[in-house]
């Protein structure tokens, strides 16, 4: 890493997270103006996008090679009042909260008070949504049965495909024109709406080109006054690139990166989609540009790296927009989940690992920054040397890259009906979510608290915390005479709440479809143009709606405890159990100890509990899978928590696995912390008993002390472990390799450990930015050595 990159990296690391009102002011100006008159909703959206890009600041950071910032400077973070309007109190919380705060000074608040709030109040998508959602949805949401991804952020969850690395906006505009020309204006009554949408797309495409031109002008101006001759020529070169992309298709490595970055800025400026945006299979998209550059001698491995470093810094400059309330709790991080995919297979099914896969791994290791996140795709066709290289980075303990099973992802996607070539072009994004890159809209809608539903089942549909009868009256379990009755009641409750969630999804999808089209994003995801339909209305080739299950480990152990202690061994009656849970085990330490130490647990490759994990998984799967959703999509499940397992735990009383009131749940499909006692191979066996191929992603956290990664021989065995798990169709595995003592020290003296990055759940984060419960959980997770 040279001085320039060190400086850029430092600049990014030291930049203060703060709120920038620039975007909010511009979009408000636009919507207050006469420009909206007579325009359709999609056209208004496109024109507002254009207005922002024409008027926003266009900073060029010192020494950088890739340009474009969402805000006026690194980490100055936009807000999106048309989606989610912050009030003054929100801004104060965002400014002052201990974790994941953003500076919001008096000036910001004043502008909000005078300009932003008065216009957007009751106009934001969030306001519209909440006015339409039924009471049963709100009660369930309040109770913590589920969260809602789309109440503060727009639908996103998509990744750029190969096509957009091979086409410029001029090509895209041609496609738009062809799509309009093909419309049957007489026999297709949807034509007028399609024309509006396609017009909006064209406005958006022109807007991003104009934005790049503004950069070209700025860079040219800068070059005139630049004294350093080297930098001067760099600035001129960058200006030429900005004159070319994204209007025309990129032809060099540098152009390709700048091209992508403009598209990225476009997506995250248009809206605040969940999971910022993502170039996806970077080693695949860039390999042609890379090889050509090497062959023609205008690129070396070193200069390619320098560009990638600069590219990496751009991601790190863009924290996730500030979240509030439950949304902040479920995803409490600055990370915005751009997940670089490396390896896997090509569209023809052959091994895709190339020189760039290794080179990018070097970049990941050397940059050692939070964003972008990274992962390797491992197919049975990929070489061990690729995995080993990644493991060496993992062993340095910053939780990246994570490891995914390409062959499983492809099967998951094809099982949902996708073409195999589209599936092979896909991968995982966000935390662990499978998607067909470039062709799919796969919207995550919220976490689903399976353990909470069990608590409600134990209380005959009543929620002890909010004191409301929100579930079905499935009977008082004290009167149940068999375990099957418990399971049946639980199944009925899951179906009940899945129904409420899906009803909500349909409402929210409709609100976005009609009020918040995303014509710019629609340019990027195939077949929105061909269909003349917006991304948020089902224009993409594939549309999927996900609900993410949380608490599998905790719930399995709880159901196992009921089956084992109440029904099979009759050590305690159901009535006694309910009473003990109600008392949060106070005065019942012996029984709690028995539940913890003497009751079978998920994660040990024992069928007794693992069969119940499968049962729970199937109950959840069957309650959701295949049900119709918004955007002509079908609902699917995945199993991941981000940080919601801490929030979900906080709304649940004591559980029969010995977990006390308020404690975090297990995360992903991992066992409850320290419930697994037979080592990592047993955990993987347990985790592989659920059918991963019926999901769109599962998350498994594996804890290792550094000794497991200490030499070649040990690394080989970790590779074998990964290969074994993937042979059993495991979807994903991530490793935390760090000493518990280091973590404890970091908790005590955060100021000395600001750079300590750990694996949380599907993503990495700065340890010191985590809430205390999560810090403790990770310490516990790490302390418990697998062997």
């Amino acid at each position: 890493m040279n001085e320039r990159i060190k400086k850029l990296r430092e600049q990014s690391l030291n930049a203060v997270n703060k709120i920038s009102v620039e975007r909010a002011v511009l979009i408000t100006e636009f919507y207050r103006s006469d420009e909206t008159r007579g325009k359709s909703v999609p056209e208004q959206r496109a024109l507002s996008f254009k207005y922002i890009l024409e008027n926003k600041a266009i900073p060029v950071n010192e020494g950088e090679l890739i340009v474009g910032e969402r805000g006026p400077e690194p980490k100055a973070t936009s807000t999106y009042p048309e989606v989610c309007l912050h009030n003054i109190n929100d801004l104060e919380i965002i400014d002052n909260r201990e974790k994941v705060s953003f500076e919001a000074d008096e000036k910001v608040k004043e502008i909000y008070k005078e300009q932003i709030i008065p216009y957007w109040e009751k106009r934001s998508v969030r306001d519209i949504m909440f006015s339409r959602l039924p009471m049963e949805w709100k009660d369930s949401y309040e109770a913590g049965v589920f969260t809602e991804f789309l109440e503060q952020r727009a639908p996103g969850h998509t990744v750029l495909g190969e096509k957009m690395f091979q086409n410029g906006m001029e090509d895209i505009i041609t496609e738009i024109d062809e799509s309009i020309a093909k419309l049957d204006l007489i026999n297709n009554p949807d034509s007028p709406a399609k024309i509006e949408e396609l017009n909006a797309m064209r406005i958006s495409a022109e807007a991003i080109v104009r934005y790049a031109e503004r950069y070209a002008e700025k860079l040219e101006e800068m070059s005139l006054v630049e004294k350093d001759t080297l930098r001067k020529s760099e600035l001129l070169n960058m200006a030429a690139i900005c004159r070319k992309v994204p209007a025309k298709r990129p032809e060099t490595f540098h152009e390709a990166l700048q091209h992508y970055w403009f598209l990225h800025i476009g997506v995250i400026t248009e809206l605040n989609p969940w999971d910022s945006f993502n170039p996806g299979r970077l080693d695949q998209h860039l390999i042609g540009f890379f090889n050509e550059g090497l062959n023609n001698n205008f690129l070396t491995a070193e200069s390619a790296k320098e560009l990638l470093y600069s590219f990496w810094v751009k991601f790190n400059n863009h924290p996730a927009p500030p979240k509030m309330g439950v949304t902040a709790k479920e995803s409490n991080t600055y990370t915005d989940f751009a997940l670089i995919n490396l390896g896997g297979v090509k569209q023809d099914g052959s091994d895709a690992v190339n020189e760039l896969s290794y080179l990018i791994l070097d970049v990941i290791e050397e940059m050692r920054i939070l964003q972008p996140s990274s992962m390797i795709q491992v197919s049975k066709k990929n070489p061990d040397s690729f995995i080993k290289k990644a493991l060496k980075i993992i062993s340095t303990g910053f939780g990246q890259p994570s490891v995914f099973n390409t062959d499983a992802i492809i099967q998951e996607l094809t099982a949902q009906g996708k073409d195999i070539a589209d599936a092979r072009a896909g991968g995982a994004s966000g935390c662990v979510e499978s998607g067909a890159f470039g062709t799919e809209s796969y919207i995550l809608t919220g976490y689903f608290n399976l353990a909470k539903i069990f608590e409600i089942t134990l209380n005959n549909g009543f929620d002890p915390r909010t004191k409301k009868q929100i579930g079905l009256k499935t009977g008082d379990p004290a009167g149940f005479s068999s375990f099957d009755e418990i399971l049946k009641a639980f199944r009925d409750q899951v179906n009940h709440f899945a129904g409420i969630k899906i009803r909500g999804n349909n409402i929210i999808g409709d609100v976005y479809s009609r009020n918040m089209p995303a014509p710019f994003l629609s340019l990027l995801i195939e077949d929105c143009i061909e269909n003349g339909t917006d991304y948020n209305s089902g224009g993409a080739r594939y549309n999927t709606t996900y609900i993410q299950g949380v608490g599998l480990g905790s719930l399995t152990d709880s159901l196992t405890s009921v089956k084992y202690n109440v029904f099979d061994n009759k050590q305690i009656t159901m009535k006694e159990l309910l009473n003990i849970l109600d008392k949060n085990f106070e005065g019942y330490d012996d029984i709690r100890k028995n539940f913890i130490d003497e009751t079978p647990k998920y994660g040990n490759d024992e069928d007794y509990p693992d069969d119940l994990a499968v049962e729970i998984f199937n109950i959840f799967h069957d309650s959701v899978n295949g049900r119709k959703g918004p955007r002509k999509s079908l609902h699917r499940i995945n199993m991941l928590p981000t940080t919601s397992h801490v929030y979900f735990g906080s709304v649940i009383g004591a559980l029969p696995d010995g977990r006390k009131k308020g404690e975090p749940l297990s995360e992903g499909i991992s066992p409850v912390q320290s419930a697994d006692r037979k080592g990592p191979s047993a955990v993987l066996k347990s985790a592989s008993k659920i059918d991963h191929l019926k999901t769109g992603g599962t998350l498994l956290n594996q804890k290792f002390t550094p000794t497991f990664f200490k030499d070649e021989n040990s690394l080989n065995k970790i590779i074998n472990l990964i290969r074994g798990y993937f042979r059993l169709d495991g979807h994903h595995i991530q490793f935390n390799v760090v000493d518990a003592s280091t973590l404890r020290e970091a908790k005590r003296e955060p100021e000395k450990h600001r750079d300590l990055i750990v694996r949380v759940a599907g993503y990495s984060d700065y340890f010191v930015d985590l809430v205390e419960e999560l810090q403790d959980e990770i310490i516990r997770r790490t302390e418990h050595e697998a062997v």
């Binding site: 191979s681 047993a682 065995k717 074998n720 290969r723 074994g724 062997v787």
Partner: protein, 260 residues
């Protein structure tokens, strides 16, 4: 006959004290190690003293289990064995001390193409070794002390049988990794090592040997299990000493690994 043995096998019970999965130091690849209770030796430095206690004694994990249960458990990591070239290791205690139980299990594993290793003192009737030989892919064979008198003094038994059995295995072209537990003051003297070298060089061309340096991890077990140990205050060999021994072996044509 096979059928009778099979049914006999179903009813077979044995005494074990642990099944450890993801064992990385008991042979090649990822392994599951079965720790079988009972040992005819009484090595002063034994690091698995629990193997010598009776079931239930001093709150050990010793337990009597069926061969079916053990086989099920040992087969669970099959996928990882296959990926890593690993398998099952029988350890203890002395696995050859429960020959019938061992045979039922190891034969079933072989039927499932699982790699098998026996970690043994070698102190058993030749007939026992002969019996399990067809099902054993690897012997992890302890060579503790060469001098018969000292062997008897430190381990409680004579080593003639042990050395004879080792020759027997080599004569039948069995695959063996010799394990040399390096116990300071007991078997790290020049004399013992020289004798070992000449014995090994007579046995085979390129003997494979691992030096297992004495460690103190067993001491806490003695305390927990309330067993007296006469060598509680023994220190592990220094790294320099381990390298010296390794050099000594090397100059005599024997490449030794450290640990196993």
């Amino acid at each position: 006959m096979v059928l009778i043995l099979y049914f006999h096998g179903l009813k077979m019970k044995g005494n074990i004290f642990d099944i450890k999965r993801f064992a990385l130091h008991d042979g090649p690849g990822i392994r599951t190690t079965l720790f079988m209770t009972g040992c005819p030796l009484d090595c002063l430095w034994c690091h698995n003293p629990e193997s010598r206690l009776k079931t239930g004694e001093n709150s050990t994990k010793n337990r009597i289990v069926s061969s079916e249960y053990v086989i099920d458990e040992l087969k669970k990591d099959l996928v990882f064995f296959e990926e890593s070239g690993g398998g099952v290791t029988f350890s203890g205690g002395e696995p050859l001390a429960q020959p019938d139980f061992l045979k039922v299990i190891i034969r079933e594993l072989k039927n499932n193409s699982i790699h098998t290793a026996i970690d043994t003192t070698g102190y058993a009737d030749k007939s026992v070794i002969n019996d399990i030989f067809p099902y054993t892919d690897l012997f992890l064979y302890d060579l503790k002390v060469m001098d018969p008198e000292k062997h008897k003094k430190f381990t409680g038994v004579d080593n003639k049988q042990i050395l004879d059995n080792l020759k027997f295995i080599f004569n039948r072209n069995g695959i063996v990794r010799i394990r040399f537990p390096l116990i300071p003051g007991y078997n790290d003297d020049k004399e013992n090592i020289s004798e070992m070298i000449s014995f090994l060089n007579n046995l085979t061309d390129h003997p494979q040997i691992d030096i297992l340096p004495y460690h103190r991890l067993g001491i806490s077990k003695y305390k927990k299990l309330k067993i007296d140990s006469s060598i509680e205050f023994l220190s592990p060999p220094s790294d320099d000493r381990i390298q010296e021994v390794r050099e000594m072996l090397k100059t005599n044509g024997i490449e030794a690994g450290i640990g196993g």
